[in-house]
Symmetry: C2
């Protein structure tokens, strides 16, 4: 692990600052409180770091009131761990309790909140999936008829879209360790390895470099490019002339990197090399466009003509980069129609891609943090020429 690794966890002052800023945004959105129940939002406000979310059995809730510290409403199994966070009030119930898995307890907490707007924001919006049964949410809504349980999605994304320096430090760290792992790939992976074996080697390298976990590591190959970028690895063996595409979302202290790298397996044809080089240039243009005051749409527009000139047949990704942080992908989206204005503290991927021939896609990706006067590249820039395996 690098000597410069940030510590795991944050001081209370970090959560105080996050919550104070959030409460101003919550008030501006006309909510009396937010209720969060998904791992990244619960962690954002409390520091609760658990792998126990992998079990879908029990819902967990954190209420962010208009003033004061958040309140945990959690299963008994979680009470000792929440008592160790900066929160002062932890309510719990004996879970699982199928008849009432926290519904009445949460309803009581919400009912007792001071009312100004009569609206509570829940994670109901875009790029959000409520982590409680919808049937339970509808029951809760029925019990609290004099409160509006409304879509807190835009409010929450406004809060999380701008990272604190301590958050950016984690993303920078994981970007650096993943960059080092990617640089080692030509020494790690061999012609004849399966995609699965290649991924296993890279996964272990990422862990050895200091990643806490590697939730996202597709490795996909194909002659001169890949036919799709969402499934893989498979048992396909790497062959001369392939492009090997790795994407990675490794985490450190809960924060993701999200960037990809391409490798030539032996000799690849010139068309693949040209497409790769064009995507490298498109990435340069995207990085240059990512400045405070620009919109996410403008970042897209800086890259799109270079992709078109490179003979793009299309790009089924639908965008050319996005936010990242506690999640692999977060708003905004670098795409037409996304008018989000970039601000210092936002962390983005720059991700142009093309299908330059039928079934042959090439995609590039880097991560950056928007600064006061431009952007800081968090990843080690991909080489302009394809690195070669074998």
């Amino acid at each position: 692990m690098s000597e410069t690794a940030p510590p795991h966890g944050f001081p209370d002052s970090e959560f105080e600052a996050r919550t104070a800023r959030a409460q101003a945004i919550v008030a501006a959105h006309g909510f009396d409180a937010l209720v969060v129940c998904t791992p990244p939002n619960v962690r954002y406000f409390t520091g609760f770091d658990s792998q126990f979310w992998e079990s879908p059995t029990r819902p967990w809730f954190v209420v962010v009131p208009a003033e004061g510290r958040p309140v945990a409403v959690v299963p008994e199994i979680g009470a000792p761990a929440f008592a160790a966070t900066w929160l002062e009030r932890v309510e719990s119930w004996p879970a699982p309790r199928p008849d009432d898995d926290g519904t009445s307890l949460l309803a009581g907490v919400l009912d007792a909140l001071p009312r100004r707007h009569g609206r509570i924001g829940f994670e109901l919006g875009r790029e959000q999936a409520l982590r409680m049964p919808v049937a339970q949410f509808l029951e809760l809504r029925g019990r609290l008829r004099d409160l509006e349980l409304a879509n807190g999605g835009p409010c929450l994304w406004e809060i999380r879209m701008v990272k604190t320096p301590a958050e950016t430090a984690r993303i920078r760290h994981v970007c650096r360790l993943a960059s080092a792992a990617f640089a080692a790939v030509p020494q790690l992976v061999r012609i004849g390895d399966s995609e699965r074996e290649a991924c296993r080697k890279l996964r272990i390298k990422l862990l050895r470099r200091g990643a806490d976990a590697v939730p996202f590591l597709p490795g996909i190959s194909g002659p001169g490019g890949v036919a799709q970028i969402v499934c893989g690895p498979s048992d396909r063996m790497l062959q001369e002339g392939d492009i090997l595409f790795f994407d990675t979302g490794a985490t450190y202290d809960g924060y993701f990197c999200d960037f990809d790298r391409n490798y030539a397996v032996g000799r690849v044809d010139d068309a693949a090399k040209r497409a790769h080089e064009a995507m490298w240039r498109a990435t340069e243009a995207g990085i240059a466009a990512a400045r405070p005051g620009a919109t996410a749409e403008q970042v897209f527009e800086a890259m799109a003509p270079i992709c078109a000139a490179a003979g793009s047949l299309g790009n089924n990704v639908g965008r050319m980069g996005h936010g990242l942080g506690l999640q692999l992908t977060e708003p905004p989206s670098n795409m037409p129609g996304d008018a989000t204005v970039l601000q210092p503290g936002m962390v983005l991927t720059i991700e142009p891609g093309i299908e330059y021939a039928p079934g042959r896609m090439i995609t590039h990706e880097e991560n950056l943090a928007v600064t006061e006067d431009g952007a800081e590249l968090l990843t080690e820039r991909a080489p302009r020429e394809l690195p070669v395996i074998g």
Copy 2:
């Protein structure tokens, strides 16, 4: 990797059999179709194996009609991969499309289904979190006023609770490789290692043994037992007298194991040894009770008196085991009130635990498959005496 590893992926006949059985259950529940949008249910019916779920941006849908093959309604980025599954019909839209991220396309597919009951089952129930924005679900419901979008949770769990032999083969395989990794811990981990370093070593060992991924690997330590079992690892260093507790949900071909192991760090006191031995005996009783015809509650009742006799101060887990498969935890729950009758093909954890002194918890866990005449233990049984590190 073991030479006996099952292949990755299933033949079409597996999905045909799953779907035929599911459709009978769907009809019995009075639904015209199910709509699934979460990774395990989409994978169950289609074989779609992707890490791309890590991005929350785009919703994905699979419709399981009353007859015939499921229909995919997915973002364009996923169309090539779905075209390679056993499905015949793949509908897609250019996503992300904030105004209409699949809503109208899905509504059209559902509206055209043959109607008998006028009800469609969605993942709205217990131990389910709908993986689409709730605001989008409510909009869809508004558009389809003559259809009831109802809670398909009990129906889906009835389908998935009984595993096919091919599913059990994957769980057996990952249980065996994780058992081998656990057996190596006394050689891997040292006094003075941090919990985090111990977890990193075990994670790499699991990958080397053939796990595809390790989504769940808490490692927690404490003098004579652990104070909680949901958060960890931390930077705490292992000390003489500690119990080191590892739990793991590693996966192979999408299927989880979920079992734990305890280790003595140097010499631990007799009370910890006695509690460990009592939990070993409680596990024996739980395994013996897990037979076809018994209820999940009866499995609990077989273990509870042994925990009480060992001086249990309580158990904030709320149950003593549960189902597992494509998810780390699935129904049923071995707890009072769960009258689920065990059937051949169900795969369960047997998981007694006690707090034998304040802040000192000890938990055991094994995995088994219910058979025609009893149960097959899938894990290598934990040693009756605590294995020792250092």
